[in-house]
Symmetry: C2
Subunit: 199 residues, 2 copies
């Protein structure tokens, strides 16, 4: 069995964006593959009794400074998104499941992550999401229809519930086998855990 990493992610989480941006180098070094697991972080918070760090004002201010430090260290562009309070993240996350099914995940994920954390887009808005999908060279109509499928809706919910059941409480969450790692700042431990698996 080859090295595998499960990545529970949500486009609305800026540390998850940083983790996504750094993932290619970790996969290149370890030879691991990723199992992409979109989940609804707000649902995970509800299931686990956790809450967004943004609910603590000092933590919200510090969190921005902290992420900016890491972005600088990594050489990754990270801009605050002005639409956090009204963001509709469910369609983009369901779209990620569809993108996996359609073998279009890399282009779709890049459009969502960079729309969110580089370009400051309101990525879930009805007039924005299709535009971003089209700009990525994908078919907005297929996505608009696909995210209404019951099995896609169920799958997002199931991922979120599975994350909670396996011990996660926030995003990003990584699993190497049964070992959980939380946070973009734990990717070094993730890589160590991957290297301990047979190649």
């Amino acid at each position: 069995m080859p090295r595998q990493l499960e990545f529970f992610f949500d486009f609305m989480s800026p540390p998850t964006y940083l983790a996504w941006a750094r993932l290619p180098e970790i996969l290149a070094r370890s030879g691991a593959s990723v199992i992409w697991r979109p989940m609804l972080t707000l649902g995970l918070f509800e299931l686990t009794g956790n809450r967004s760090p943004r609910t603590v004002p000092n933590k919200a201010v510090y969190g921005q400074a902290d992420l900016a430090r890491f972005a600088r260290r990594y050489g990754v562009t990270l801009n605050p998104n002005p639409h956090m309070d009204t963001l509709k993240i469910v369609p983009p996350l369901r779209g990620a499941l569809l993108a996996l099914e359609r073998d279009e995940f890399p282009a779709y994920a890049r459009a969502m992550f960079e729309g969110m954390w580089v370009d400051g887009e309101n990525i879930g808005a009805a007039d924005v999401w299709p535009r971003l999908i089209a700009a990525a060279g994908l078919d907005p109509e297929a996505y608009r229809e696909g995210v209404e499928r019951q099995d896609i809706k169920d799958s997002l919910r199931a991922n979120t519930e599975e994350a909670a059941a396996r011990g996660a409480f926030g995003a990003p969450s990584f699993f190497v086998g049964d070992s959980l790692f939380w946070g973009q700042d734990r990717l070094d431990f993730v890589e160590e855990a991957l290297m301990e698996q047979p190649a």
Copy 2:
């Protein structure tokens, strides 16, 4: 002005213990000195609307695994403390202020941190705290009297309030000038910030 690091700490926080254990190497490399700032983390939580990660069950379980990973990486012994739910941490923290005044801080801090996170002691208990102080070669009676002083009590409260006012929300918190760093896992950024100051 030489390089200086303010360290807001609480003996009851295991990541703070890890930070304390690693501090000597960072000070040695940077030539910085430490301003020790005992604070009451539970008071800081109250002032800032934060709460202990232990209130979220998944986070509590993960937190232990995460700290164990760092302890292994650092080569530092860290054992869970069985007295967390009944711990009386205020006398030990007031004692830290007295130890600073008496120029006995290194021995006192080591007794408290290692009593807490190596030996699993109930460090605030009336029959334990004096024993640990005596074992460190210090005078339990002086501490027992000293922590009743109003200025010592006020000073602990003032440190906690200052931490909140300057943007902190948990332990450990470091300041290099006005820049806040939170967590034992941010000591690399702390060291970078110190190195940017004139030596």
